[in-house]
Structures are given as structure tokens and as C-alpha cells.
């Protein structure tokens, strides 16, 4: 049952930030405003992480995502011609993104509400809150997530090398 305490008020506020910011991103015709709405939305998500006792993820969220918005703004300024006066809210592919967004939303909704992907056993959640140490161990433990971690590392390294190769002068 939903009762009114600090947790639920926080959840409400951060949800409004997340959803409102997300709506702002897609409806504002000014690219810079869109980027700033994105900050609001990501900040709300960081707040939700804090409510879930995942401070590490919250800090990383702020550092990686919100910190990178400044670079996004740079790209918006440099790569677009009239970023503050977009006349169209929709472009030609709007129906495609609408289908994808609705499909994803339905998928997640079904996953949360119905026990399709393996049960709603709330008791299976570990009582102790995972710490940053647990997270670090999970990433390098052979029985847990070391393979995805390594694959992601290789992907990032490849991307970085690719960027350097493209940026180099042809000599």
C-alpha cells in the first residue's frame, strides 16, 4: 500500500522529474532546452537510484550522463543550423519511433506486472543492500558478470581506437 512518507514523496518528485523531463525533451523545439530537459530527466533517474539504495549508480548517472550533456550541447550548437527555431515537432519517421517506444513500454509493463519472465517472488530479493564492493566483485567474478564486462571493455576500446584512426591526419 502507498503511504505518505519521505520515501514516497521522494519517489513522486523524482518520477515527475524523470517523466516531465522526458516529455520536455521530445516536445521542445529548442535543442538546448531539449538537452537541459534531458538533464532534469536523468537527474530524476539518479534520484530514483538513491531511493533504491544504489548510491554508486546514482553518482555514476550524474557523472557520466549529466556530465556529458555539455558535450551534447556543443554538438547541437556546431552541427545544426537553426537549433532554436525548429518549425516541425514531428519528422518523417515519427511513426517508427512511436511504434518502438510503445512496444518497449508495453514489454516492460508486461514484464513488471505479469510473471512472464520468471516469477514475482518478492521474497527472493536479498535482504542486505548490495554495496559498491559487491558491485565491483560481481564485475570481475568468473561466476558472475566477467564476460559481459570484458565484452563491453573490448567494444569501448575498439570505439576509441576507431575514433583515433579517423581523427588522425593521412600521412
Amino acid at each position: 500500500m502507498l503511504e505518505l512518507n519521505a520515501q514516497s514523496i521522494g519517489f513522486l518528485v523524482f518520477s515527475v522529474f524523470t517523466i516531465g523531463g522526458g516529455l520536455g525533451v521530445v516536445t521542445s523545439r529548442n535543442l538546448i532546452h531539449g538537452a537541459l530537459f534531458l538533464i532534469l530527466s536523468l537527474f530524476g533517474a539518479a534520484g530514483l537510484f538513491v531511493l533504491l539504495s544504489a548510491e554508486f549508480l546514482a553518482a555514476v548517472q550524474v557523472l557520466v550522463y549529466i556530465g556529458a550533456i555539455a558535450i551534447l550541447i556543443i554538438f547541437a550548437v556546431m552541427l545544426t543550423r537553426s537549433m532554436t527555431r525548429l518549425s516541425e515537432v514531428f519528422n518523417r519517421q515519427w511513426w517508427l519511433s512511436a511504434v518502438v517506444a510503445v512496444g518497449l513500454f508495453v514489454l516492460i509493463l508486461v514484464g513488471v506486472i505479469l510473471p512472464v519472465f520468471g516469477g514475482m517472488d518478492t521474497a527472493s530479493v536479498a535482504p542486505d543492500v548490495a554495496t559498491t564492493v559487491d558491485l565491483g566483485v560481481a564485475l570481475v567474478d568468473g561466476n558472475q558478470y566477467v564476460l559481459p564486462f570484458e565484452v563491453a571493455s573490448i567494444l569501448l576500446t575498439a570505439a576509441m581506437i576507431g575514433a583515433i584512426v579517423i581523427a588522425r591526419d593521412n600521412e
Binding site: 548510491e55 554508486f56 550524474v62 549529466i66 555539455a70 550541447i73 556543443i74 559498491t132
Partner: protein
Amino acid sequence: MECRDIINTLAACLQVSGTDPGLAQFIQILLGVLIVTMAPLIVVILLIWVERKFAARVQDRIGPNRVGPYGLFQTVADALKLITKEDITPAGADRLIYNLAPIVSIVSVILIWAVIPFSPIHIGVDLSIGALYFVAVGSIGTLAIMMAGWSSNNKYALLGAFRVVAQLVSYEVPMVFALLVPVLIAGSMSMQGIVEAQRGMWFVVLSPVAALIFFISTQAETGRAPFDLIEAESELVAGFNIEYSGMKFGLFFAGEFVHVFTNALLMAALFFGGWVGPGVDQIPALGFVYIALKATVFYLVSLLLRSTLPRVRIDQLMSFNWKFLVPVSIVNVIVVAFLLQVVRALGLAPAADLANDFIANLPQAIVLLLGSLVIVAFVLQQLRNFGRQERAAAQTVMVRKEDDVDMLPAQAAH
């Protein structure tokens, strides 16, 4: 909870006098937050005076000396002036973002104060991820400058803001790598945990390279000389804050001053033992004195750098970061992590019950210090080779020029 005195157990005291427990808790937290956020704003009044006096002495002037004893109240007069000045918003500015930027700028600095440990018991909030929190919050400052530069509708402001992203985002990399070293040694990301781990030995002894890199890159993060390219007066008029007037400009200004002192505090807490000092366990308030003294030393060093060094060019700034600081900081982290494991495997690390003992910490410190010295020696050797190559290249260019140009009689005689 029992009501002993009103300072430490305010919530309990309020409950005794009949306040609702939840409300009492809320009032106590609210007051704590107020104290932590007000402290930097009050300290900055003094800091500006110190900085102006110091810069004046370096430049053989007297500095502020009219308002109050030794000109101590000059900043108050300046603040009054800034508040009463006309508030100008440029035509075509994005009003909301324009007004929001100075606030975000100073808030991003004040938020750092929440995790600075001032004494064993006095800290805003001892987050388990304190060190990461400081980096995350610091990255918002970049955003504030970008907001200011873009919303001013001024090309110089926008150019200044573009430089910010290049500079601040780049210097965040070595800063984070340097920050990793105390985290590694302490085995904790909590600021209080990092300071506690330095009771036996300051981390600057264990890794002077990390301390130096952290100091340099935080200096660059504040955007002050010799890294003040974001507000280069000669090329950008004043950079991102050119259109701001009155107290809005004052907020950027105050934010920068607080940032410098905040970095000095972090330097003291991360590498120089923070509040650790004799008698701090008996009288926790002594912690304030110790950390303030240590921070003041770094504050004065950064003031001295600011008032004596010339500005670097943007290409020098970037190559110094990416070709020097970043590689050195990465190597340093790897060496420290490796040596820490070696020390633990050999049993040289201080036992848990002796962690606060200076002698017990010596073997570990000596091993790590030797590792640092090897890095320093290697870097110096590389720098010497680099310098030799550069000089040789410069000389061949000069010789070639002399060959190409028809020599004038005077030069030929020479």
C-alpha cells in the same frame, strides 16, 4: 535519544518540548544543511580579502586598505555594490537559462562541501561513495558555464564556453585517476574513511605523484591562471561571463573563489590527513583547526601560482594534459595498485590493530614511495629526452633558414 544539549541533540530536545518526532528530525536535518551550505558563503568573504591582499603583495602593492581594519570589510562593500548594480539581461538572451546558470555554478561548488570531513564527527553526510560524489557534482560546474555561455547570445561568451568543455572535461581524467589512489590505499570511497586511514601515515608520503597530479588538475578545474583560458581577457574579452552584471556576475566570481578553497580542503583531506592531528580524539573541534591550516597552505600555493605564472596556450594546455598528465596518472594508478598487492602478499602492510601506528606503517610507505620515485625518475628521463629532441629540431630549422636566405653582410661576418 536523550536531550543533553541543544547543539548535538537538537531533535531530542525538540521532542522533549513537545514537537512531533518526524518534524523534530526534519528541523534538525534542515539546520544541518543550512550550516553546511552557509559556511562556504561566509568563508568566501574572507577568502576574497586574502586573495586580494596576497596578489597585491606579489605585485608590490598594498591592496584593499580603506574599509575597516586592514581593509577587511572591503568584500562586504563590494557585495553591497554588486547587489545594488543594475541587472542587465542582453537582448535575445534565453532568460531562464541565463538566470539559472550563476546559481547552478555556485551550487555545484557548495554541494562538494557536503562530503568534506572537518573533524571526526563533523561532516555534512558521510556518503559511502563520497569521492565519486565529489567528481559527479564537480562535472555539473562545466554545465553551468556552458549554460551561461550559450544563453548570453554573445559569440565571445559562446567561444569561452566551448573552451570550458575542452579544458574541464580533459582535466577531469587525470583528476579522477589521481583520486583513485587514496581510494585504493584506504580501501574506501567514503571521505571519512579516507581520512581515518591516514591516521598512521599521510597518503602524500605513499603517493606524492598522485598528490601533485591532483593538485595540478584541480587547479585547471577552477579555470584560473595559468589555466584561465575560459575567461582570457585578451582574446575573449571576459569569456563566458561577459554579459553578466551585478550579483549574477558576483555569484560566478564567488563560486570560483570557493572552488579554489574547496580544492585546497580536498587536497588536505585526501592526501594530507584532513583533520588528523595530535589530540583530535579528545577534542574533535581541533579537527577544524588542523584541516583549515593544511588547506590554507594549498590555498596560498595556488594563489601564488595564479599571481606569478603566465597563461598557457590552448594547444599547450591540451597536450600537457593528454600527453603528460593522463599517461603519468594511469601508470601511477597501476603501479600503486600492484605495489599494494605486493605489500599485502609480503605481509608488510600494517596489521589491523596497528593501522594508526606510525612505525607499523613505515614498511608499506617505503615500498610505495620507492615505486613513486621510480615513476618520477622515468618521467624526468623522458622529459629530458623530449627537451633534447625539441632543441635539436629547433636548431635544424634555424640552420636551414640561414641556408635558404641570402645572408646579409652583418650576419655573414657574424
